[in-house]
Amino acid sequence: MSAPVSKELELVRRSSFFEGLEDEHLEYFASRARRCTFGPGERVIVQGEPATSFYVLAEGKIELSFRKAGEEMALNEELGPEVEGQVPSHIVGHQGYPVGWASIVEPHFYRATATALERTEMLVLDRELFEAYAKERPDFGLKFMRRILWLIGNHLRMTRTRLVAARYGNMPQTVRALLNQNAATLSVTSPLHKIPHYLENRLTVDDAYHTLEVMKAEGDEVERELAAQIADLLDEVWREVKIFRQLQTTYELVAGATPTMSSEELRYRSCEAFAELFEDTDYVIRGEENLPDAPGHIFVMNHLSNHLDNLLPNDFILTLDTHFVASMILLKKYGRAPVRVVRKSDPGEYGHQKFYDRLGYIYVYSGYVDPADDPHVSSEHRRRLFLEAAREHLKNGRNVVICPEGTSTETENSPLPFKTGAFHLAANVRPEPLIVPIAVANFDKRLTRTRTAAIVHEPIKLSEHLGESIDGRALREFVDGYVYECFRDYVRGAVRLADKGREGSRSSP
């Protein structure tokens, strides 16, 4: 009966780096390897420090980053060298990945910094072990150095590809370039050739993921290694896929809900689903101390366009900024989802209508009027209907979210001029609701590549600015002047907040 195989031996046997080395050598190293655990944020190796050990990733995920030659590394007393200023590299999560070849290669200084992104376990092999064994078994030494060359060569190709792609191309092109760089060894029938095509369309990215998983497990040596490299390269894409899937699920949650489920409950569930989505993104919220203690107020915000990557298969895009305010600010503070004021869907916007109908949002009309909504009703009457519906929600202690621009734009152009509807509403409800300004930034960018920001500002009590009896002209001037000027500063503030360092991100003050 054969002896049980240790975890360490199993790991090095599976690692593509050790491929082609005889089992007796693998057993030698596996039995002499130490296991080391690193917590999130902890450094495994630091660029520029003496390279004394070679590591093999056993569990977890690490980020490899490089500092350009000649750049000084600032020291942070608590965390060690700062990551800021380094050329961002890539995230590695495949078991058996070797780290720290500089321990084998002169001048024996680590060439990169490896940081654990989660709890990470590494096998550790000391440099002297390799040196002594290569002297004792030069046949091993020769083969081992060929594997080191293979490893550095892969990195050289990968680095060139990534840097060139970052400058010139997109992800499908990056993968295509990587495949081309390996054309000499990759079979022309390999399913990996499909990956760039799958990546071209959001709906087939899942197929890319699946193909890579299959290749990592069942491909030949070249395919396994390349699949692992591509999967690491696409780490950001997988996060985007996850967000897209969450958007699809949230849409289905609302649009496909049973008819008996109330709008109130659906709004709550939808907000919960969005909160889950946003929790995994890089965001910052400030000014929550400005939120009124009790609900029943009007929240006005600038409205940002959506990134086209979030377009669902039915051509509907869920607006991210308003859902962020609803789920991450208002639901968390008041425990109740707000009601939003949304544009009435145009003909053909089936997805839009299906979603908002179920949420019981208040419609406003921008040009198109559904015949079912009575074409003979005047715009004045429609405004009255809007005021009545909104007033009812406010009186019942529900918050109402309004984007006064009536349209959306990019962060850089935000805010656009405001319409006065939200302020008319405040002037027509008693007890008078507060108007709470919220400025947002970067929701028009890809959520995986930006930091979003939202700042709640001091509420406005309209009567304190315009008195109890408000005429239309004074209101218009107030909105165009005071409110709009304030909001321009507010949005710039949100942009600055998003641009700030990571300190304080993903949190409230």
Partner: protein, 178 residues
């Protein structure tokens, strides 16, 4: 290595030794003068030198081409070479420049699948020393530990090139004009 291959290499080594006045001839002293061959034993240097040749190349001449079979290793004796990598939809990009005496060119000859991963072109008139891959294989077969030490030097070269790639490619670059 097959006997036939070994015979061919031995024959070319013998022929090279006879051509004392050949301007392409390389001596073990020539090799010993290059940093790469520091601490390499005399017998190995003599063996490598016998099959080595000098090549004088004009500005713009190609030393190796990307994806060609890597049959030889080159060392720059004088001049300068550009390292170019072809990227689909982008073209040939300059990814490095070598101008130091003794710089290793064509390291892919040390590693399967023995295909050059980049093209190398003379930036100016250059002299290079060429050593067939097969000769290195013979040396490695005779002394595997020496092979280990030589490959370690190759690894150091490629590692330095990797560090250089980050700096070089992160600075403004233009597609090379071929």
């Amino acid at each position: 290595m097959s006997k036939k291959k070994l015979r061919t290499v031995q024959k070319s080594e013998a022929t090279a030794g006879l051509r004392a006045s050949d301007p392409t001839r390389v001596t073990s002293e020539d090799l010993a003068g290059l940093a790469f061959f520091e601490n390499v034993s005399g017998w190995a240097l003599r063996r490598l030198a016998r099959s080595a040749t000098r090549r004088q190349l004009e500005q713009g001449a190609m030393v190796v081409r990307q994806n060609d079979e890597a049959r030889s290793v080159y060392f720059l004796l004088s001049g300068a070479v550009h390292i170019l990598v072809h990227f689909e939809e982008v073209g040939d990009l300059l990814v490095g420049v070598q101008r130091d005496k003794g710089s290793l060119v064509g390291w892919s000859a040390f590693m399967a699948p023995y295909r050059y991963t980049s093209s190398v072109r003379c930036e100016e008139a250059s002299e290079l020393l060429r050593i067939p891959r097969d000769t290195f294989d013979i040396v490695f077969e005779e002394d595997a530990y020496l092979g280990y030490k030589i490959l370690k030097k190759v690894a150091t070269t490629v590692d330095t090139r990797l560090e250089g790639a980050v700096t070089f490619l992160d600075s403004p670059i233009v597609p090379a004009e071929l």
